[in-house]
């Protein structure tokens, strides 16, 4: 049992951190692509981070031109953009501040020190690729502190829930946007090879791909890996399985609708096939998945986070 407000703040604390980490992953790849001379003119690729976070309009209100520098500034260090990495870290810190009595001292210190140092790095305009690595490290540190120090009670479960709901959402969006930019038919072509392996790197799944398929990069296999493979930690299936199991651990009778949605999501992924997905179209499939995750998030809110 815990306060609904506390559960809500724990949930959003970990969602914000997970979002910061995923942004760092995405921007790291975008940054490298932006460094390639031929990518300089590729406005669509540059707009991906804003498309993903729904902030393209507010970007255009603030910056005259879509350049790699402006995009990175807006998405990394711009504190007036709540969807920037800095904005996410601040949101995580503010939520942690409100629940610091519920999390362990190590977790609080990890979140608070991350925010303090991020602000400092932002003011010094720290080098981007180092900053991305650092953000990922800090996220790992927080997860490690959570795993290693927090009592396995509802606080722990709401934190984990936030992580996996956000991760499922992020992986699906990333896959959706990236696949949009490639050949309409899922066929293996040389230019796409780099894009698909970049996606694997973004999601730390490149080694997993090599280990599982022991074969060259193909679009079909990348999609199968990131959607259906339960053993890859950032795949849609892995996230859904985690969400279902976490919901089973949370006390109380109010969560039945959320549990039903989670079980449905898992069944669809565990028994799904790549051919089915490609037949209905990857974009259509992912749009439906994102709507389902959104619905699940709403059900979680109704059941636990805004109770009574």
């Amino acid at each position: 049992m815990m306060l609904s407000r506390t559960a809500d703040q724990l949930f959003w604390m970990s969602r914000s951190l997970e979002r910061a980490e995923n942004l760092a992953r995405l921007l790291d790849v975008s940054y490298r692509l932006a460094l390639m001379p031929q990518a300089r003119g590729d406005k669509v690729e540059l707009a991906v981070p804003m498309l993903l976070t729904g902030t393209l309009d507010s970007f255009h209100q603030r910056y005259p031109q879509l350049t790699p520098e402006n995009m990175l500034n807006f998405m990394v260090f711009d504190s007036s953009n709540p969807a920037s990495i800095l904005g996410c870290l601040k949101n995580a810190r503010d939520n942690a501040h409100a629940v610091r009595g519920t999390i362990s001292a190590e977790m609080w210190e990890a979140v608070n020190a991350t925010w303090l140092e991020a602000r400092d790095r932002a003011s010094r305009r720290h080098a981007y690729s180092d900053f991305f690595d650092w953000v990922k490290e800090r996220s790992h540190l927080f997860r490690g502190a959570t795993y290693g120090t927090l009592l396995r009670n509802d606080a722990y479960y709401f934190i984990r829930l936030g992580t996996f709901v956000e991760r499922a959402d992020n992986t699906a969006r990333l896959l959706d946007v990236k696949s949009h930019l490639m050949s309409p038919a899922i066929e293996d072509s040389a230019p796409d090879y780099y894009a698909w392996s970049a996606l694997l790197h973004t999601l730390s799944a490149f080694e997993a791909y090599r280990a599982i398929y022991r074969d060259s990069i193909s679009a079909r296999r990348v999609i199968e890996l990131l959607v259906l493979q339960p053993d890859v930690p950032r795949s849609l299936c892995a996230c859904a399985v985690e969400i279902r199991s976490i919901l089973d651990h949370i006390q109380g009778e109010t969560g039945r609708p959320a549990k039903r949605l989670a079980a449905k999501l898992v069944a669809g992924l565990e028994y799904g096939s790549l051919d089915d997905i490609l037949e209905q179209g990857l974009h259509a499939y992912l749009s439906r998945f994102l709507a389902d995750v959104h619905g699940l998030g709403e059900a979680i809110h109704r059941a636990y986070l805004e109770a009574a």
Binding site: M2, S4, T6, R100, G101, L116, G252, T254
Partner: protein
């Protein structure tokens, strides 16, 4: 060798005589201090700053619009209190708090002390802190102030004086606990050489006090905070965590069927005791400030039915008001039939014409305070003020005399403290915490020592540039 500034003879220094000789209870510490190089100690101070920052022991500065948080400066030279002095302080504070609780029960019931002519009726009943809603309400064990912070200072004569009693929502106990933790972490060797009385069990005592505040078995206790933007939020969260109870905001609670509930992930859960860190005026928008977003609508009506315990009770402010303060020695004699162990600071009440003319004639030597002021705001320190400041204050006092009291400028004792030039004496006060259950009054041997970091300054409040020190009560 440390660059040491000696105290002057006009005030009492806790460690040194004006000649530089070390007082006996600081002998061992002084030896240790001289065995450390300035560089070693500077390194420890940097480590302390870093740790406090990382742990987030900060406070929000009121009036700072950016919502900035600052560290309260922590000084690594402890204030040491000999065992015999503590025994006197402890006895004196327990006596004082017992009398104050009796006074609160009396003025909300039979008014015996007023009828006996010891305190003028208008001083009590027209006081803005007096809560008519409390009249006739019986509280469990007759406890009003479950938690009290008593501010004491040591004057040039070597005696302790009570500066004020804090009976509403006294804060600072988390610094007492965190300062000790920090000292043990930085200087473990000091604690093997000194028999320092432990303070770490304070949260256990506090929880026990709160649980015993209700006749219910196995009660649900919560800490009620105004929220993360309150300057003492760190402490609210800290105490809730240490006690293992929920930290709630007003919006987490609601009233239904004459009971208070909190909103949880498993539905409504009944609450029995609220350790509230919100002022009376914000507790219940239906009864007090209608625009308060911090409180719980309907709380007062549940309270009046006896279905919830508030710690501290509503209406305790009337007893720690500076206009009531001069009467505390009389309360001790009246309710306990004892002589006060701790002395009050002599106080002139500007509402009395005779006192007023004395105060106006001597503004340059006195400390003048607003009756309801707190936090070092709204006060005049005569000897430190410019002529213009004195004249401005004179006009304010004349316009509303009953809003002010005046006291002699006390020579707060000093304690050696790390400053830019090395180690120099800085003025300090002391706030121990007193817990009351009705059956017993308990304290941990320690308190919060606040230090005015500016040379010569007597204002120790953290909001005005004060710092803190660990307080060591020696075991006798």
């Amino acid at each position: 060798m440390h660059a040491l500034t000696l105290p002057d003879a006009r005030h009492h220094d806790e460690m040194l005589l004006a000649s530089g000789a070390v007082r006996p209870h600081y002998q061992q510490f002084a030896e240790w201090l001289h065995s450390q190089t300035p560089a070693q100690l500077a390194e420890k101070r940097r480590a302390a700053d870093l740790l406090f920052h990382r742990v987030g022991i900060t406070f929000a500065v009121s009036g700072d619009e950016s919502g900035a948080e600052r560290l309260i400066p922590f000084d690594t030279i402890p204030r040491i209190v000999p065992a015999t002095e503590w025994q006197m302080l402890e006895a004196g504070m327990k006596q004082r708090v017992t009398a104050l609780n009796a006074f609160l029960h009396d003025i909300y019931h039979d008014h015996a002390i007023v009828r006996a002519g010891l305190i003028p009726a208008e001083q009590v009943f027209t006081n803005s802190q007096y809560q008519p809603a409390m009249q006739g309400l019986d509280l469990p064990h007759r406890v009003y102030a479950h938690i009290t912070g008593v501010d004491v200072i040591r004057h040039a004569d070597g005696q302790y004086y009570v500066l004020e009693d804090n009976l509403r929502v006294p804060s600072g106990v988390s610094y007492m606990l965190e300062n000790r933790k920090m000292m043990m972490r930085l200087f473990p060797e000091l604690f093997t050489r000194h028999a320092v009385a432990p303070v770490e069990h304070y949260p256990t005592l506090l929880l026990d006090t709160l649980r015993r505040a209700t006749p219910k078995d196995n009660p649900t206790v919560v800490v009620l905070t105004p929220g993360p933007y309150n300057s003492a939020y760190f402490e609210h969260a800290f105490l809730a965590q240490q006690m293992g109870v929920e930290l709630v905001e007003g919006r987490d609670l609601f009233v239904k069927d004459d009971h208070v509930f909190m909103r949880t992930t498993v539905g409504p859960v009944a609450v029995d005791v609220i350790y509230r860190r919100i002022d009376d005026a914000f507790l219940d928008p239906l009864a007090f400030h209608p625009d308060s977003m911090l409180g719980v609508p309907g709380l007062l009506s549940v309270y009046r039915k006896g279905n919830i315990v508030l710690a501290n009770a509503i209406g305790t402010g009337v007893a720690d008001d500076k206009s009531i303060y001069p009467y505390v020695p009389d309360m001790i004699r009246f309710y306990l039939d004892e002589e006060p162990i701790l002395q009050n600071v002599p106080t002139w009440q500007c509402r009395k014409p005779q006192d007023l003319s004395h105060v106006l004639a001597n503004l340059g030597e006195l400390v003048v305070k607003e009756v309801h002021g707190a936090g070092g705001y709204g006060m005049l320190v005569g000897p430190a003020a410019t002529q213009a400041e004195i004249e401005a204050f004179r006009a304010r006092v004349q316009a509303n005399p009953s809003n002010y009291i005046a006291q002699p400028t006390l020579a707060l004792s000093s304690c050696p403290t790390f400053v830019e030039s090395g180690i120099a004496p800085r003025h300090i006060d002391l706030r121990p915490f007193v817990l009351s259950t009705g059956q017993e009054v308990r304290m941990v041997a320690g308190g919060l020592t606040r230090v005015a970091l500016k040379a010569g300054s007597l204002v120790v409040n953290s909001s005005q540039g004060g710092g803190t020190k660990d307080t060591w009560v020696m075991e006798g």
